[in-house]
Point group: C2
Chain length 334, copies 2
Amino acid sequence: MQIRPTIVDIARELNLHPSTVSRALTGQGRVGQETKDLVFKKAVELGYNCNQVASSLRKGITDTVGIVVPLINRLFFSNVISGAESVLNPAGYNLVVCQTHDRKEDETRVIRNLLRNQVAGMIVSHSLETTSPELLQRVSSNGVVLVQFDRAFEDLAGACVVNDNFAGAYAATKHMIENGYKRIGHLGGEFNANVYADRLAGYRKALEEAGLEFDESIVFDHSISRDKGFYNMAKALEQKCDALYCAGDYAALGVMEYARHNNIRIPEDFGVVGTANEIFAELINPSLTSVEQNAREMGIQAAEAFLAMREEKVTTPRKIVVPMKLIVRGSAKR
Amino acid sequence: MQIRPTIVDIARELNLHPSTVSRALTGQGRVGQETKDLVFKKAVELGYNCNQVASSLRKGITDTVGIVVPLINRLFFSNVISGAESVLNPAGYNLVVCQTHDRKEDETRVIRNLLRNQVAGMIVSHSLETTSPELLQRVSSNGVVLVQFDRAFEDLAGACVVNDNFAGAYAATKHMIENGYKRIGHLGGEFNANVYADRLAGYRKALEEAGLEFDESIVFDHSISRDKGFYNMAKALEQKCDALYCAGDYAALGVMEYARHNNIRIPEDFGVVGTANEIFAELINPSLTSVEQNAREMGIQAAEAFLAMREEKVTTPRKIVVPMKLIVRGSAKR
DNA sequence: CACAAAAATACAAACGTTTGCGCAACTAGC
DNA sequence: GCTAGTTGCGCAAACGTTTGTATTTTTGTG
């Protein structure tokens, strides 16, 4: 564990002042070409590596942005993270990831922590337990640029990147209608979250446009897990449904499992469309028609929104909508 | 964007010296109980939040650890990250994630960057392009604790957390032998990586123990993608194989697809076992027998190894082996 | 060659904490 | 009531950079 050389070490060896070395290294300010060369040469000779912590303290801002998600290892979120990382890292920013496990308590803890660390920005999808934008408001009022994605309080300062959940659900439902399904139910998430509310609205719009009845008794909330899909499929059948739009692929999976167990043929007897286009969607039998989220793109957009706000120093709220795409496969085609 | 209060603001308002406030807040050193209370009260009153950057500069070390993986959104890695985060964050550490896209160039960049940021430690699975431990050596020689996982140079300082790939492949191969398959091929990765070398060795051991021939002509390297699985399945059939052990589930998927296209029945005519136990393994038909990696556990172990080394300040190399488990399903059962 | 303008470099303060040291005040032991 | 130990707190330096200003050196012009 050797001691790391600093800017003053370089300065001493070259009989220069630390400030000159700093300017040479960063390219800010006027420094003669030859001394610049000398400094660079000496820097590699000593194996100099800038101390970002000192730099950040002086500059009052770090080069890191925090990304806050419910669960890192959910494909959707890891795709977002990956997308964000791929633009932020080359731009010189570090990404620190935090998971909230969908708990408000954890969310509070990690956001506080990020603020303590003077992050330049945060990209967050808030926990399901979070129903008020209070804490997030403090983020931007602290001068930290805020980008929300997926789950978002849209009237907050800063950018927000969301899927066009309305259009996605609309397309999915319309697809089922066009394939002759007559009584289409809905397996949704928590309807007070923007994401699921929008999907419900899109579903409803498609029904109404086609002159089909919107019936609350075949709309199920908190139903995006595999178990709930299985369970609510039974309920939907009792209500004479012949199709289900699911706000999540795992619910659709549960639906299909129930169908198999009960010799209900998909898509002949019953149609199902999921959301998220999880990896397994194309691999199961029949393959699952699903609405793709394009998570990676959301991560990229969120990162670019951060960069833009950072440069322009604007915090005027803006909303970026990334389109969803219906991937038609076999589960609702007849 | 209001100005954030500092320790000196608190000190000024209470007619104390900043050092006293610092000691009160951190609990280090002797401070009277009443002043301690006063300080805390004033801290919340002003909305004080410690500036970690300044603290880190003074202490010469940060509370962040870097995690370096090839791709964030590969399930295995995102599970590791999630596991690591779940122990590191409550312990007061931040996790900054970096992906290398399996490129040496990116790896060099991100590691340099982490060093610049004075991280307390790194948890890394090196890129496939990295064949020498040179750069990683610099990490520990810089006093940064190093934990490698999965892909690892085992003779380096610090800890390393690996799967028992040998035992996993051994169990998988044995399972196929016990189910009556006679000529079992191997679809592996890059055999100069420890992971794939160990899997090959385990496979070989099982064969030899059973008195079966180890035949190089049915061992394929660089073959863990879906495409390669599909492609090499044809080759394996030419070589009269009746089973394949695949070092990755996606290769196994390719194998099964080729089988379906050519009316080869699995498991009756041909057996296949994968590795990783990806989500789709239980969902496809027939379901895929696979060797589970327990990625989350690896992340947890890696994080705990970091914490241990940090506390004890020991760098004596140690190796933590996390077991793999054969998940028996339908693809090699007869 | 004198003088102004421009270029190169030096100086010093600052960012917000932490920490070794020292000094006063208090407590306890005899 | 004197010494020794303890407690509470202030002082100042330090961590390594950055940056506004000042100073020196160089260059250019008439």
